[in-house]
């Protein structure tokens, strides 16, 4: 476990694996962000807020 030099503490993943897990997080954040933006725009069209 801790004798593999590639592995990063504390998850036990190596660098490439950790970066892949991170990429899913980043992609998810981007997609959900864009979806939320579009949804807010559409709601603003039907029932405008802030004047």
């Amino acid at each position: 476990m801790s004798n593999d030099p590639d592995k990063v503490w504390p998850t036990g993943l190596n660098l490439r694996e950790a970066e892949e897990v991170h990429s899913y997080l980043i992609d998810g954040t981007r997609v959900f962000g864009v979806i939320a933006l579009i949804a807010h725009l559409l709601v603003a069209v039907t029932t405008p807020w802030l004047g």
Partner: protein
């Protein structure tokens, strides 16, 4: 002295593997409970299909007053993505991942698309129908937003189903595949039936607020249920993660699959048969109502009878093929049963007998169940292990496109005959050409399928292909003892 560092590392390492979404060791025997859990992705697929084709179809036309032709175009939009299922399957076969995963990332991406589509769909529909201040908004906003939401859900459904089926095929041994196919079909039906009743009850009293609640609730449910379905299902594969990059392009890979004996022929059978059975799906209820003067409750029961027949077909096919039957036999029998079934539908119009129509519907459902199960099992058996995704993608592409085109063609034929000056002489006449065409398509499917059945046993997609379990044997997770 107590070794704090070793203790802490041990605890963290065991914590990590317990709460990671992938399985650590590929076990030889996958228990039924795990397969049942995986099949949950079909429930959300069924939910999405019912919501779009059934519930929203009605809500958009009746409550939101959107023109029917525009609704039809919107609902047909996801079909644009059907041919891409083959590409998605291929990409998941050859996906490069440091974690050694190949199906899980795609199921997750598909789930996100499905969620995203449902999240913006209610507002898009409200803008499209000109609710509230949206009356003054430019038309293109509602149109493009609604189109985007339907495209997102459609793409997500295609992605989740293709890659999910590929993962299920990866998980089980060759001999168990018919049972998995049966399970997947049954869960799809269960999802569709349960959600049809649920949406009907939830939208009984329609308000815009309720529409938003129901669709966004579906979005959350999709993510939760798909999350449960894919949790710890795919094993990490060290050898796949470190293998050199394959130089296959999609066309190379496709040429290799299409070059296998009987593959193109099998896809043709799938297209013809699915079109033959699919055309009846949306026309049986209006046929019962207009020709045999059945009430709404009675025609709804007709759809239930169709589903019941399919269930019987899936059950029989699972047992038969699971005991070593040949998939093409089930395909042929299913199509052969379908031909007299549609003949009986026409006969019921002649003698005006509702019980005969119910019997014919049960028979058609039974044939469709046998046919569907047989073709999917044949597709799984026809492909080598490393091309399962592409093969199932091709199955899905042909099947979804054929079903969509068939439903559209059936409706167009009926409307054309209805509009023709000499056409509507009796209430049954618009339906006669449609059901006759269905019988013809099924006959054609049988004729194309027969050589596959008569040919050598390998081409008939029988069970037990040598060396099938080899690739599974190489799966090894981090905790597996290394040789």
């Amino acid at each position: 002295m107590f070794d704090y560092k070793r203790f802490a590392l041990g605890r963290i390492a065991s914590f990590g593997t317990r709460y990671m979404p992938f399985a650590d060791v590929a076990s030889e025997e996958v228990p039924l409970s795990r397969l049942l859990r995986l099949a949950l992705f079909q429930v959300t697929v069924g939910m999405a299909l019912v919501l779009m084709a059934g519930t929203l179809n009605r809500v958009m036309i009746v409550e939101l007053k959107v023109p029917a032709s525009l609704v039809a175009v919107m609902l047909a939009l996801p079909l644009v993505f059907a041919p891409f299922r083959a590409l998605i399957g291929f990409r998941s076969d050859t996906f490069r991942s440091a974690l050694g995963l190949r199906r899980l990332p795609y199921i997750w991406k598909g789930t996100m698309l499905q969620f995203g589509g449902f999240a913006i769909m209610p507002f898009a529909l409200l803008v499209l129908s000109g609710y509230g201040e949206a009356v003054d908004a430019p038309r293109w906003i509602g149109l493009s937003a609604a189109a985007l939401s339907f495209l997102l859900v459609g793409a997500g459904v295609h992605m989740v189903q293709t890659v999910g089926l590929a993962l299920a095929t990866d998980l089980v041994a060759e001999a168990d595949q018919p049972r998995v196919v049966g399970l997947m079909y049954v869960m799809l039906l269960v999802g569709m039936i349960v959600s049809a009743f649920a949406y009907g009850a939830l939208l009984e009293t329609y308000t815009p607020g309720r529409l938003i609640q129901v669709i966004q609730g579906s979005a959350v449910l999709t993510v939760v249920v798909n999350g449960i379905a894919m949790w710890k299902q795919e094993a990490r594969n060290r050898s796949r993660a470190t293998a050199p990059v394959q130089a296959f392009s999609f066309l190379d890979s496709w040429a290799r699959l299409a070059g296998r004996t009987g593959m193109i022929r099998l896809l043709a059978v799938i297209g013809l048969g699915t079109a033959g059975f699919g055309m009846a799906d949306v026309l049986l209820e209006p046929f019962g109502g207009q020709v045999l003067a059945m009430t709404v409750a009675q025609t709804t029961r007709l759809t239930v009878v169709l589903a019941l027949g399919s269930l019987l077909g899936f059950g029989l096919a699972s047992r038969w093929l699971g005991r070593g039957g040949r998939a093409m036999d089930a395909v042929c029998l299913g199509a052969v049963i379908g031909i007299p079934a549609f003949g009986l539908v026409l006969a019921s119009a002649l003698i005006l007998s509702a019980p005969l129509l119910v019997a014919a519907t049960l028979l058609a459902g039974f044939g469709a169940g046998l046919f569907g199960h047989g073709t999917l099992t044949a597709t799984m058996r026809a492909a080598p292990r490393e091309q399962i995704g592409l093969s199932l993608g091709a199955w899905g592409a042909v099947q979804a496109t054929a079903a969509g085109l068939a439903i559209a063609t059936g409706g167009v034929i009926r409307d054309l005959v209805l509009a023709a000056p000499a056409g509507g002489t009796t209430s049954a006449s618009p339906y006669v050409p449609v059901f006759a065409l269905e019988g013809g398509l099924l006959l054609l499917a049988v004729l194309v399928a027969l050589p596959l059945r008569r040919g050598d046993p390998a081409a008939a997609f029988g069970p037990a292909r040598a060396g099938a379990a080899d690739e599974r044997g190489t799966d090894c997770g981090l905790a597996a003892p290394r040789p």
